[in-house]
Symmetry: C2
Subunit: 198 residues, 2 copies
DNA sequence: TGTACATCAGTGAACGCGCGTTCACTGATGTAC
DNA sequence: TGTACATCAGTGAACGCGCGTTCACTGATGTAC
């Protein structure tokens, strides 16, 4: 098992980022070791450091990758055709609150524990902030299209911001609590609130 | 330094729970070691296990303690006199979204990372669920008092649930992101939404 | 094009560190007579 | 009440474990002639 070609090495590097993103989203950054990732790829731990300077360097790239993935999924929802504004604003909230497999947990929620801990240096924290702000702006833009007029409406924006917070809060609680009757009721309330936005 | 009296030992035990709660809320459960807690109390690590079977046993008690503390604080807000319903519903949201010292971070948010990790066994997870559900019920009850009539109004409840999610979501983002202009705007939107509840 | 050497992706074992937990021990407190 | 013994809160050092990281080594790939 000697040296790999540059092509193979580049593929392996990508695989590390993708696998890490998946595992980080499913289990949380601090519950996934470098060895966990490399073992899943059938490689040894030492090889990791031929590609990344440290675990946090990988974390940074994995964050960017995950946020891009989420942003793309939101974009696909946003491009659908909608009959009326209420349907439009409900669509993205419904998509977000859908139950998804662990590997697709919202990055804003899955990565927060790592960002809060002191263990994370500036790099990954910065990636988290940028990613979260990006999703927020994307959400607000989506909601603005619910307005027939092209002018920005500050009341619409305010409602959108409340919905964003409510949506994230409901998902956060779902991750932390697991299923609970009252929580499903909260999620439904957020969905309905989004639907009656006009 | 021989054996302590039963009275002293009981005091020490309480101090462990209080100190742990404070540090856990400020830094997160997984970033605070048993040794951190005991050192702050001027005791050695070994003494800890005369009081608790394991770290998670302490975590469970610290969770219950913190949630009781938060619930009591909410209760004090709830007992104030209010002139109109909007002022009443704004009061608790404003209180919740107030910037507080690290040691008073909302337990729903501060403890979530530990509950999500596999490291937590059933005990502490259960304490978290009970505590969170308790705060939720307290919030909804507070909001119901905004209605002049004594009958439960399902529309009021729905608004209350959305506000709860939005409030928690906004605080969650604040913890994860630190200060950001757009986030303050989101927090303001949530506060205003609460104020116009009637 | 073929040959000789340099490069470097991947290996596998080791290191250092912090953590939760254990343990033999100490000596003041508690208890039995 | 006083004495002799048992209890057990607290000590301080050690243990085992998983983690991030390092390192000498291997041998196929890349490069220079």
């Amino acid at each position: 098992m000697g040296r790999s070609s540059y092509e193979q090495a580049a593929k392996n590097r990508e695989k590390i980022v993708e696998t890490a993103s998946r595992l980080f989203r499913a289990q949380g950054v601090d519950n996934v070791s470098v060895s966990d990732i490399m073992t899943e790829l059938g490689m040894t731990t030492g090889a990791f450091y031929k590609h990344f300077e440290s675990k946090d360097a990988l974390v940074q790239e994995a964050f960017a990758f995950s946020f891009r993935q989420s942003g793309a999924a939101w974009g696909r929802v946003s491009e659908r055709k909608f009959d009326d504004p209420g349907e439009r604003s409900a669509a993205i909230v419904n998509y977000y609150l859908q139950k998804k497999p662990p590997a697709q947990t919202c990055p804003m929620i899955a990565f927060a524990p790592h960002v809060c801990s002191e263990a994370s240096d500036g790099l990954s924290t910065e990636a988290y902030r940028e990613g979260t702000e990006g999703l927020f702006r994307q959400f607000v833009d989506h909601m603005r299209k619910s307005r027939p007029s092209d002018e920005a409406d500050s009341a619409t924006d305010q409602t959108a911001q409340v919905l964003f917070a409510a949506m994230v809060g409901a998902n956060f609680l779902a991750q932390a609590m697991g299923d609970a009757k009252w929580l499903r009721s909260v999620q439904d309330a957020v969905r309905e609130e989004a639907a009656l936005t006009e």
